[in-house]
Amino acid sequence: MEIITIVLAGILIGSAVYLMLSKSVIRIIIGTAVMSHGVHLMFLTMGQLKRGNIPVLDDDVSNYADPLPQALILTAIVIAFALTAYTLVLALRSYRELGTDNVEEMKGVPHDD
């Protein structure tokens, strides 16, 4: 099970890199979002995927699940969500101001009219 999710995380990060190497601003933003998903999946796998165990450390329980990675990626997901929302708004605003969503044209020092 861990192998499958690790491979899946690798595929997600690989496709995120492909998206981020493209020229369109929207694709780059989707790439960052997909990359965060891959990374979070990796974090979840690092806590070991065990089903049917309770997440408490107790004397009676020998085989407990680790709840910490899930709590941590919850925090990281919220942050990634906020970042994606902010970048999307910024992309819209810069499309209106700069008149392009092609990063090839976003270089040099533009001057305000």
């Binding site: 981020m20 601003v25 780059i28 960052t32 990359m35 965060s36 990374v39 979070h40 990796m42 974090f43 796998t45 690092m46 806590g47 910490l68 990675p69 941590l72 990626i73 925090t75 990281a76 942050i79 990634a80 906020a82 970042l83 902010y86 970048t87 910024l90 992309a91 605003r93 810069s94 101001e97 700069l98 990063v103 976003m106 270089k107 020092v109 533009p110 001057h111 305000d112």
Partner: protein, 497 residues
């Protein structure tokens, strides 16, 4: 085990003042007053922290009274206390500087609120003792910096801000990935606990070298280390001057601090690989920064490339990881934060007064502004490390450490970079203040009393720091100790148990 409120103050004061400003609404004058008062409070609380830490040793607070390896702990050692104090001083004077430079539009749209939230994150990253909590505080100040770099919505800000944001999102994602590896190896997130566990392990963890590379990728991107500084000159050029002061003086230094913390606590197992890699990258960073600083006559660009040189020099001290190396790194870190803020303020004044960023188009300004000119000259000397000004002590200890460890090339590059720094900044001084007079009628009439107050105050702070370096030596010795002797940092864990 107690919950002491004092280590929390540098995080809580800017956080709550930011929230209060949000509730006050779009009233710039009220924002100014609240921001300045909370800046003063920050300085006082930070100085109080230094006194407490000096008398009683490292201060630890357990949030929610959860014992150390399980809950989040805030650990303020002398290094964190000194950095928090420097941050507070720079914040206060930058706020004063902003009154007359940032413009009423940006002030209306919650400029001071974002500064306060950014300081919350920076102080948090300096004082936390939990590596995941450090990630969260990194995100706090990065999110505020995303807003600050794009606030105002000019074309260059939107264009460069977008690149800045994408680069930082990628490196933050890798931060989470590195945390995942670290957690799966050690099963802990408390930095002191991880350090103890790794120190108590007999075999060699080759996986820790991989984690070291991931962490270096993350922090090197934020700090602007070769080859990951490519975004820095473009992005830092975009925002208005007060934002640039905060970014240049504080943000890269948080990355440097994080490298020092993680490389001293986690990656002491295979220093032949990790610290040599760090040293190698630091040296190339210095060389690249020197090339950049020499190739521009744009005042902003020259000083931005000087940030990169300084990051390289501090990292050379950190890569040595012995007593004199860390002592030098701490001295130079504090010195560089103060002097970069001072130089950016003076350059900002010149840009506001003349409307030009290119030093070639200026000349003869010493007749109009003699005080600014000589302050600029003093700041240039301090930046290059001319004794007895503040840059000298840091470089002295770093160079001493490189020669003690037989890294002669490193020592020579650090020394040679001082000449380049001196040349690049003094040539700005010569071009702007000496030479043929420019047309003084093109100077813009600006109200400059608060700008000059803040700039001159920062230069005086820097000079005072240089003259008082001897008095402050015990503090820096304590600060360096928690890096080159990690057990002194992590001993609070054993006290808890």
């Amino acid at each position: 085990m107690t919950t002491n409120i004092l280590p929390l103050l540098p995080i809580m004061i800017p956080f709550f003042s930011g929230i209060i400003m949000l509730f006050v609404g779009k009233r710039p004058i009220a924002h100014r007053v609240i921001a300045a008062i909370s800046g003063l409070l920050l300085i006082f609380s930070a100085l109080w922290l230094i006194i407490e830490v000096y008398q009683n040793g490292t201060m630890v607070t357990f949030l929610g009274n959860w014992a150390a390896p399980f809950g989040i702990s805030l650990v303020i050692d002398m290094a964190a206390a000194l950095l928090v104090t420097t941050t507070a001083i720079i914040t206060f004077f930058t706020i004063i500087y902003s009154f007359q430079t940032i413009g009423i539009e940006r002030e209306n749209y919650y400029y001071y609120v974002m500064i306060m939230f950014m300081i919350t994150g920076i102080n948090g990253a300096f004082s936390t003792g939990d590596i995941f909590n450090m990630f969260v505080f990194f995100e706090v100040f990065l999110l505020a910096s995303y807003v600050l770099i794009t606030l105002g919505g000019t074309k260059i800000q939107l264009q460069e801000g977008f690149k800045y944001i994408v680069v930082n999102i990628i490196s933050s994602n890798f931060f989470v990935l590195g945390l995942a590896y670290l957690y799966s190896v050690t099963g802990s997130l408390n930095m002191a606990d991880i350090s103890n566990k790794l120190a108590g392990f007999d075999g060699s963890f080759s996986i820790m070298s991989l984690v070291a590379v991931v962490f270096l990728f993350v922090f090197a991107t934020k700090a602007g280390v070769f080859p990951l500084y490519f975004w820095l000159p473009g992005s830092y050029y975009a925002p208005p001057m007060p934002v640039l002061i905060l970014f240049g003086a504080l943000l890269t230094k948080v990355g440097v601090y994080a490298i020092a913390r993680t490389y001293s606590l986690f990656f002491m197992d295979n220093t032949a690989f990790t610290h040599q890699m760090l040293l190698f990258l630091a040296l190339i960073t210095i060389v690249m920064g020197c090339i950049g600083a020499l190739s521009f006559s744009d005042m902003k660009k020259v000083i931005i490339y000087n940030i990169i040189i300084a990051v390289g020099i501090i990292l050379v001290g950190i890569a040595m990881m012995d007593e004199s190396g860390m002592l030098g790194a701490m001295y130079y870190l504090i010195h560089d934060m103060i002097i970069k803020a001072a130089l950016f303020m003076l350059v900002g004044f010149l840009i506001y007064r003349t409307g030009q960023t290119n030093a070639d188009r200026l000349g003869g300004l010493i007749k109009e502004h003699p005080v600014v000119g000589w302050m600029f000259f003093l700041a240039a000397l301090a930046l290059a490390g001319v004794p007895p000004l503040s840059g000298f002590y840091g470089k002295l200890f770093i160079v001493q450490s490189t020669f003690e460890n037989g890294q002669y090339v490193a020592g020579i590059i650090v020394l040679a970079s001082s000449l380049v720094v001196l040349y690049s900044v003094v040539s700005l001084f010569i071009k702007a203040f000496w030479g043929e007079d420019m047309d003084f009628t093109t100077l813009r009439p600006v109200k400059s009393d608060k700008i000059l107050f803040a700039s001159i105050a920062m230069v005086i702070v820097s000079i005072a720091f240089g003259l008082a370096a001897d008095v402050l030596y015990p503090l820096f010795e304590m600060a360096a100790q928690s890096f080159y002797d990690p057990s002194s940092y992590s001993e609070y864990i054993t006290e808890v148990e």
